[in-house]
């Protein structure tokens, strides 16, 4: 794996266009999902999606291959969101807990074998889960995603969110507990 990340680091330093295309292809879904969790808004997530990739190309020389690429990518995306928020509201990630408006954030995957009724049910379920998720503070949503959807280790999550391991664990405990409560009490 180390050899792979080193090759990646060299490609990023060269700003190899083919490598960038491959990276976008490979990480588009995960990056957008992370940004959706972080911002709670599809519009904002899509804006930050582009900006994150631009920053990847601008700062590609800073990737040293010590961490997995996704850890570095998520850190860039996170810093971008926080910088933007700081400039706008002098806030931090805490200010990102407000749900977004407009387009729905999550949409169920729509395989061909789903009937319209099943698809509608899947839509409803997705919306219900998002409704519960967006009411969680952003820093809980973020660690829940990194742990349970990205399957990152606790150490990797600590590197992404730039917080001590103990903070990460406590956010995970509280986030999971709150999510369970919200889904349970609302019977969604």
């Amino acid at each position: 794996m180390e050899r792979e990340t080193q090759a990646l680091a060299r490609g990023l330093r060269r700003r190899d266009p083919d490598l960038l295309d491959r990276l976008i292809e490979q990480y588009q879904y995960r990056l957008l999902r992370y940004l959706l969790y972080l911002t709670g808004s599809r519009e904002a997530a899509e804006d930050f999606f582009q900006e994150t990739w631009v920053r990847v190309i601008d700062r590609g020389h800073q990737y040293n291959g010590k961490f997995k690429f996704e850890t570095w990518l998520f850190t860039i995306a996170r810093n971008l969101v926080i910088d933007f928020r700081r400039r706008k509201t002098a806030g931090s990630l805490d200010a990102l807990s407000e749900p977004g408006e407009g387009q729905p954030m999550a949409e169920p995957a729509a395989p061909d074998n789903l009937s319209p009724a099943d698809l509608a049910a899947a839509h409803e379920e997705s919306e219900r889960i998002w409704a519960a998720l967006v009411r969680l503070p952003a820093f809980y949503r973020e660690v829940l995603l990194l742990r349970f959807q990205e399957d990152l280790s606790l150490e990797e999550i600590a590197a992404v969110v730039a917080a001590p391991l103990s903070t990460v664990k406590s956010r995970l405990y509280r986030g999971l507990s709150e999510l369970r409560e919200k889904l349970e009490t609302e019977k969604v």
Partner: protein
């Protein structure tokens, strides 16, 4: 069964998902769950919450991906051109410095001659010579700083 037992069980149930449990804790919580309906329900709902969380999927708009690719290619080209310009600037600076160093004795004499002819104090023409020597470097530094500031503002 005390309230402490329930609290411990709930913490361990979440802990199992978050960071895993030691065999002893695992054994304890399993024994507790066999006899406690309340904590079993808690464990089920935690598992269900996680399952539902994992089922969330998002749709990536292909137009967004295409637009991002185009923007990145344009940016890569722009950065490449900027690097070429920067290299040219460095080469010009180096050449200018070499020429400046080689011509310095002649320019010094020219300044001294002009100073004598126009009867201005020595420090004045020496200051003129110093400015002639340093101004190009100052100008280049200003250009570099301005470019860097502009680049940082864009990020």
């Amino acid at each position: 069964m005390s309230e402490n037992d329930h609290e411990r069980a709930e913490r361990l149930i979440l802990g199992d998902w978050v960071e895993g449990l030691s065999p002893t804790d695992h054994q304890w919580v399993n024994r507790h769950l066999e006899t406690c309906a309340r904590c079993s329900k808690f464990a089920d709902s935690a598992e269900q919450a996680l399952r539902r969380l994992r089922s969330v999927s998002v749709r990536v708009d292909p137009v967004l991906v295409r637009a991002t690719r185009l923007r990145l290619h344009a940016r890569a080209l722009e950065l490449h051109e900027r690097r070429v310009q920067l290299t040219m600037l460095w080469i010009s600076c180096a050449l200018s410095w070499v020429l400046g160093a080689l011509s310095a004795p002649f320019v010094w004499r020219a300044f001294a001659w002009l100073g004598e002819r126009s009867r201005i104090p020595a420090f004045a023409w020496q200051l003129g010579f110093a400015l002639w020597w340093t101004l190009p470097a100052v100008a280049v530094t200003v250009v570099f700083v301005m470019r860097r500031t502009r680049a940082e503002n864009r990020l």
